[in-house]
Amino acid sequence: MSATDTLENTKTNVQEVESVTIRFAGDSGDGMQLTGTQFTNTAAVIGNDISTFPDYPAEIRAPAGSLPGVSGFQLNFSSVDIRTPGDAPNVLIAMNPAALKVNLPDLEEGGLLIVNTNEFIKANFDKAGYTSNPLEDGSLAGYRVVAIPITDMTMNALAQVPMTKRNKERCKNFFALGVVFCLYDRPLEPTIEWINDKFEKKHPEVAEANRLVLKAGFDYADTAEIFSTHYKVRKAHLPPGKYRKITGNEATALGFVTAAQLAGRPLFYGTYPITPASDILHELSLLKSFGVKTFQAEDEIAAIGAAIGASFAGHIGLTGTSGPGVALKSEAIGLAVMTELPVVIVDVQRGGPSTGLPTKTEQADLLQAMYGRNSECPVAVLAPSTPGDCFHMAIEAVRLAIKFMTPVFFLSDGYIANGAEPWKVPPMNELPDLSFQFVTDPEGFFPYKRDPETLSRPWAIPGTPGLTHRIGGLEKQHITGNVNYDPANHDFMVRLRAEKIANIANFIPEAEVFGAPEGDLLVIGWGGTYGAITTAVETLQHQGQRISSCHLQYLNPLPRNLGDIMANFKRVAVAELNLGQLCMVLRAKYLVDVISINKVAGQPFKVKELVNRFQGLL
């Protein structure tokens, strides 16, 4: 008997809903990310589809109660297949007035608003810019407000526990979590297990306090019947298989270690801490038993320099960063292009330019990845489209890097890097074979003699007898690899390097159309906008509109059939989180009058706004 059945027996008013969007919001020290993650894990484990959107400030602890310090975690859980964390939350948990102020505009009309009344005091109104108490001035009349003195109730629950007041107070997020668990009839066990794992050994008193508070929140909501209606979200009908919840950064780390294992070589990750890419380092630094070597370098340049060196010596060279780091790595990427060594550059894009919006998402590094180097310096560029897709595209990045002896960009973004979704664990036998051999035969060996099919040069690593050779950043003579300044040779080599990358198009999948292969509007997207674009297009398709979409995972070279796909639509638009970068590339390459739909707010597209923009083009 499931928990849901129990609830149906005891509660009279239970409403079944397809999907729910919840946003937890509070001070950046209130533990909102953890609270959201716990709710997500529980929803995932009991079989809902999920999609999350953590949205937090760059400041680790902005002044308590202030507007810049508000941290939010939005999640969508559902009984049907979902692709986004939802546009407007159905439920908002606001731990203080600042969180209310920042997040209320997004809450749906008539939505459920849970507030911690203990924080609704004069000092906090001032910090949030409220001139009166919003709980009393009627400004929240359009919402269903559930006012709970969460801090007091947390303290009461812990009255017998020997802990400092400050530490007790820090448990209040779990009271809120307990309340929301009750509202949606979720089991507490997964969270209790997490608490036990995390704290029981080292801090048993913290574990006990969190368990007590979590249960107190649940019991309070249950016995005080603060909700007139409880909601039920059934299991989602996902394709059968084994699932786990995964964030984009987790999937990226997992994908690269998998790729290295499939290639039969150790992974070398050279990196410098940078938001929002650092979690990849944290993940990979745990995987020593896989032979992974992580190198926290002195700077971004050293990070890629070491990755290139490791690649020269036969490891799978990987570096990871965000846009500002790519700027620093540019010269070294050029070196890898010239020396034709495999190296993958992970760019978890964030708002820019310069330091920009470190914790917010953007897709404005596409042109930097494609062209941001001196001279003619082509590289392959890939972009995962969902958190789970990061796993597969990481393997693709390594496959292309070693097959074509080239740097490959992996353009993730803050939105999919931190967002989570259920990920169907692929069976081992469905993973591609990346095995390869280094060159070892001195007979006819030249460092720049090319494979006729891939145009790539041989990978001969130090330690191999008979193949000693020198490479470097100076122009190479065709075949011999000797330093060469001959004009005709340079012209030839520049074209050859370009051809090598262009030729990759023959070794990647063709683009696929979502919807009919012809129609009035084709929306092209790339990267983390997949969920919002596809959902918006589907919405309009259901309304009978002749709209399709095409989401690109390969940006350089582009899939061979893209030109033909575009030709079958009256209009073509690109939706992207920049001022029209892919749009510009497509216009230049295909001479098609591509329309740019763009946004650079540090926030992902909402489905509703895309529906409106697409409708305007139909």
Binding site: G47, Y243, R244, K245, S289, G309, P465, H469
Partner: protein, 351 residues
């Protein structure tokens, strides 16, 4: 050699019978005639066969500058990198394959200016590799601008009124950066140079060798005040482990500590004997005296050459492998399927 206690990375057990000729590549050497680099190249090619390392296990890595063309001329694996970044590339190579003998060739501009950050961090990590820093106190390849080791007030193409920058001291920097083998030699003192390079090679850990190198085009005679034959013995202090610091044509001058201050004394004068002199201890864990030696002002004091410091610390790449081996011993070799299925998982059944 008594100071060769450790097995050198990549060295073979059986004699390979290599000679200097085996290390000369097929590339035409393109330094200016008379450049000090020729002498250094010759000495490196002379030392290499003595190390008994197969050529394929040796990698020369460089950045940009005159000195950085070095790898092209060595018949080994080589990587001519980008300006200042050779330590990063060399680090990646060494971490990926600790069995390789890795040599980094850099200059005062490449290593101390644009690559200053990397050289500091490569040294503190104590990778088992060798840095040869050719110090000619000028930018040669860009045709004569002042470098970070140019003397204050020096007139160059980019400082027609004299530089207003104070020079950096490479040995002091290496000491502060915790390199475990720190030495200095001179391009024209071939015997000293080859012995120093050989000792650097045998050191397990980061070896940093500053080599005074004459640029006869843009900074000719930069070191002649103490390297010319006539003045050399009076103006150079050869450091020898366990020996008193004696110099001079007559071997009658020495360095003594007066309180915390060094001073030059003459043996036999005022009853001073060798027992009053500082005895060089390159293995001293306390870097104070090594630093003092690196800072001796010229011409009041002679210029020390030789090994300033030689200490033992764990090497970065060994520690990396230890952690990997430890993790494998504890958890077993990584199981990909297990990893992919880790965390909270759930099964969706057919419906």
């Amino acid at each position: 050699m008594s100071t060769n206690p450790t097995k050198i990375s990549g060295a073979a057990d059986m004699p390979l019978g290599l000679t200097r000729m085996n290390f000369i590549s097929d590339q035409e050497v393109r330094w200016c005639p008379g450049c000090g680099d020729y002498s250094i190249l010759f000495q490196v090619q002379t030392v290499m066969p003595k190390l008994n390392i197969p050529r394929e296990k040796i990698v020369f890595v460089s950045g940009i500058g005159c000195s950085s063309r070095f790898p092209y001329y060595m018949n080994t694996y080589g990587f001519h990198g980008i300006h200042g970044r050779a330590p990063t590339i060399a680090s990646g190579i060494k971490i990926a394959n600790p069995e390789l003998s890795v040599w980094l060739v850099t200059g005062d501009g490449d290593g101390l200016s644009i690559g200053g950050n990397h050289i500091v961090h490569a040294m503190r990590r104590n990778l088992d590799m060798n840095i040869l820093l050719f110090n000619n106190r000028i930018y040669g390849l860009t045709k004569g601008q002042y470098s970070p080791t140019s003397e204050y007030g020096k007139k160059t193409k980019s400082s027609p009124y004299g530089t207003v920058e104070h020079p950096i001291n490479p040995i002091s920097l290496a000491i502060a950066s915790e390199a475990t083998f720190i030495a200095r030699s001179v391009d024209i003192d071939t015997k000293h140079l080859s012995a120093t390079i050989e000792r650097a090679a045998y050191h397990k850990g980061m070896s940093f060798v500053e080599i005074f190198q004459n640029c006869n085009i843009f900074n000719d005679g930069a070191f002649k005040e103490f390297t010319e034959k006539e003045v050399r013995s009076d103006r150079i202090l050869p450091l020898e482990h366990g020996k008193p610091m004696i110099f001079g044509k007559e071997k009658n001058k020495g360095i003594r500590l007066n309180g915390l201050k060094p001073e030059v004394v003459t043996l036999g004068e005022n009853g001073i004997s060798t027992s009053d002199l500082l005895v060089h201890n390159e293995e001293d864990l306390d870097p104070t005296l090594a630093y003092m030696l690196s800072q001796l002002p010229f011409p009041e004091f002679p210029v020390p050459i030789g090994v300033f410091r030689r200490v033992t610390k764990p090497c970065y790449e060994d520690s990396v492998l230890e952690q990997i081996d430890g993790a494998v011993a504890k958890k077993g070799r990584g199981d990909l399927e297990k990893l992919m299925n880790s965390g909270d998982t759930w099964v969706v059944e057919e419906f």
